[in-house]
């Protein structure tokens, strides 16, 4: 069976700035991969390349065996149309640091929006489904609240429900707890932990080393646009081999 994510020699350049310098990275089905590393190491860029929010500059990115954003025909590469890219993205859920909930819609409407507009689900079906997802993140009683009436932790849980409503095969989390007050971090991590336990394939960029240690199958340590070290948390976090990894965990732990 093909891996859920396979990155082969991925580079990303923003003009002169070389952010990703040859990333090889595999995430198996049902696996939880946590990306750790100092700010500016390219973790967020990498996760944004997985669902095409950033176009990669070199290499190949495969999700579920499918080449992302490109098509190879007669030995030449062609860009996919906006519609095809939208379709590829619809199968990958994403959760952002700043939630990015739609502020003019209630929690329920936020969760229903993409199934209605993208999957063309009927209103009744979408609503039933959305309530189920809100239940799953423990916010069934907040369905009719607008984002501004919810705490940061609740907003992020709605955002997770919104992504799950598209029934993705893969969930990406880009620093999901970095914008939260410390006392609200736990509730979001708990939801993510439950999601991991249910067998969801997840890639998480975070600074929560405790979460990585407990939930990750694979910890990837990045620095300066390359993967320095990767492997099970016990190896990478508790017994790092590379001096840069050692130095990082010595500072954060």
């Amino acid at each position: 069976m093909t891996a859920m994510i396979e990155a082969k020699g991925v580079h990303k350049l923003f003009g002169e700035l070389h952010v990703l310098k040859g990333i090889d990275f595999t995430v198996e089905r049902g696996e939880v991969a946590v990306l750790l590393g100092p700010s500016g190491s390219g973790k967020s860029t990498l996760i944004r390349c997985i669902n095409e929010l950033e176009q990669i500059s070199a290499g190949r990115m495969y999700v579920d065996g499918e080449l992302m954003g490109l098509r190879e025909k007669n030995g030449r590469l062609h860009r996919l149309s906006d519609k095809e890219i939208a379709h590829q993205r619809s199968r990958v859920g994403m959760v952002f640091q700043r939630f990015n909930l739609f502020p003019h819609m209630t929690a329920l409407a936020n969760v229903m929006e993409a199934p209605r507009q993208v999957l063309r689900m009927s209103k009744g079906e979408a609503e039933r489904d959305a309530r189920e997802q809100l239940e799953r993140v423990g916010l069934a009683d907040r369905a009719d609240h607008y984002p501004s009436q919810l705490s940061g932790g609740q907003q992020q849980r709605v955002a997770i429900a919104r992504a799950l409503a598209m029934k993705p095969e893969l969930m990406l989390f880009d620093e999901p707890t970095s914008a939260l007050d410390p006392e609200l971090v736990g509730e979001v991590l708990t939801v993510m932990q439950d999601l991991a336990a249910s067998g969801m394939t997840m890639v998480v960029v975070t600074h929560e080393v405790g979460f990585a240690r407990e939930v990750a199958d694979q910890v990837v340590f990045m620095d300066d646009g390359v993967i320095v070290e990767s492997g099970p948390p016990a190896a990478v976090i508790d017994n790092p081999q590379n001096p840069r990894t050692k130095d990082f965990f010595a500072k954060v732990l």
């Binding site: 929010l53 906006d82 994403m94 952002f96 739609f102 502020p103 919104r162």
Partner: protein, 314 residues
């Protein structure tokens, strides 16, 4: 320990004599002005009252309103189309939109109105057919572009160029995180615009559009350039000139413009309250009078910024 209400401070405010001095000055000046208006016989208030409800004047007010509404409708339609084209991915449409805005903002409205009036001279017949090929329909330009149509086209297309920039500013004021969230969910560009971006951009777009409407009301007086001769300024001038009393008829027109503007200003205030203008997104959502829950939520989220040039870091 029982909780007790503390003794609230009821201190006298600082005495500000400048308020009273200014009040006295303004009051005297205002009284002098009103006295002058009323007692100066050259204003001919009796003529003003006589013509205020003259059927020709009332019908002219109607035409002025029709021109205002029709031109604004055309302007809004053009503006939304052009703003979306300008922000789109198609370079040809981007260029078309740029050229439209460049031309219609870059030439005087008066010149444009004269042009629309002359379009029938420049192109005597208009036809529908294959370019450079056979014609299917053909008609006399003057039958299609009547002075009223020319006036609406002139005002509306000009307004569209100004509004396009307002709409574009509004669309750009929406946080790019909103685009990213919609994209990540697999929503198409057009769906994202319609469902996510435009509803939030309304807060930035609608209040200045209200201002533009008030401004359009008075700009309609320029359509004598077409020449369209049924609106308020032209009609009241014509009546006044005919009896060598231009001043009282100018007053008649001014009274109507002021009255309609006042009514529009009431709507404008309501609209601004609805969209929570003047409330700062940083502060917790505070209910403005008449402000909807939905708008409060947009405001509190801070995803739309009053200053479109403001950079948002995700």
């Amino acid at each position: 320990m029982a909780e007790s209400t503390p003794e609230l401070i009821h201190a006298r405010p600082v005495f500000r004599p400048s308020v009273w001095i200014w009040a006295a000055i303004v009051l005297v000046l205002a009284a002098m002005f009103v006295h002058g208006l009323v007692t100066n016989p050259n204003y001919h208030w009796e003529i003003v009252w006589e013509y205020l409800f003259d059927p020709r004047v009332v019908s002219a007010v109607g035409w002025t309103l029709i021109l205002t509404v029709a031109a604004m409708c055309l302007g809004i339609l053009m503006a939304v189309t052009m703003a979306i084209m300008r922000m789109g991915t198609n370079p040809v449409l981007r260029a078309v939109s740029w050229a439209y805005i460049w031309f219609f903002r870059g030439t005087p409205i008066y010149t444009q109105l004269v042009f629309w009036g002359l379009v029938g001279v420049l192109y005597q017949r208009l036809s529908i057919g294959i370019p450079f090929g056979p014609e299917f329909f053909s008609f006399n330009t003057y039958d299609l572009i009547t002075p009223a149509v020319a006036a609406i086209l002139g005002l509306g297309l000009n307004e569209g160029a100004y509004l396009a920039e307002i709409v574009r500013g509004g669309l750009q004021s929406v946080d790019k995180g909103q685009w990213e969230a919609a994209n990540a969910l697999g929503m198409k560009r057009s769906t994202t615009l319609r469902r996510i971006v435009i509803p939030q951009a309304m807060r930035v777009i609608v209040p200045p559009t209200g201002n533009e409407t008030i401004s359009m009301l008075k700009t309609t007086s320029l359509v004598l350039a077409v020449p369209f001769s049924l609106e308020l300024t032209f009609v009241s001038n014509a009546i006044g000139n005919k009896m060598f009393q231009p001043l009282p008829l100018l007053l008649v027109a001014a009274i109507y413009y002021l009255a309609i503007t006042s009514i529009l200003m009431i709507f404008q205030t309501r609209i601004e309250a609805y969209y929570g203008k003047g409330f700062d997104g940083e502060k917790p959502a505070k209910a403005g009078r008449g402000m909807s829950k939905r708008q409060q939520s947009i405001l509190a989220a801070g995803t739309v910024h009053d200053d479109p040039t403001l950079e948002v870091t995700p």
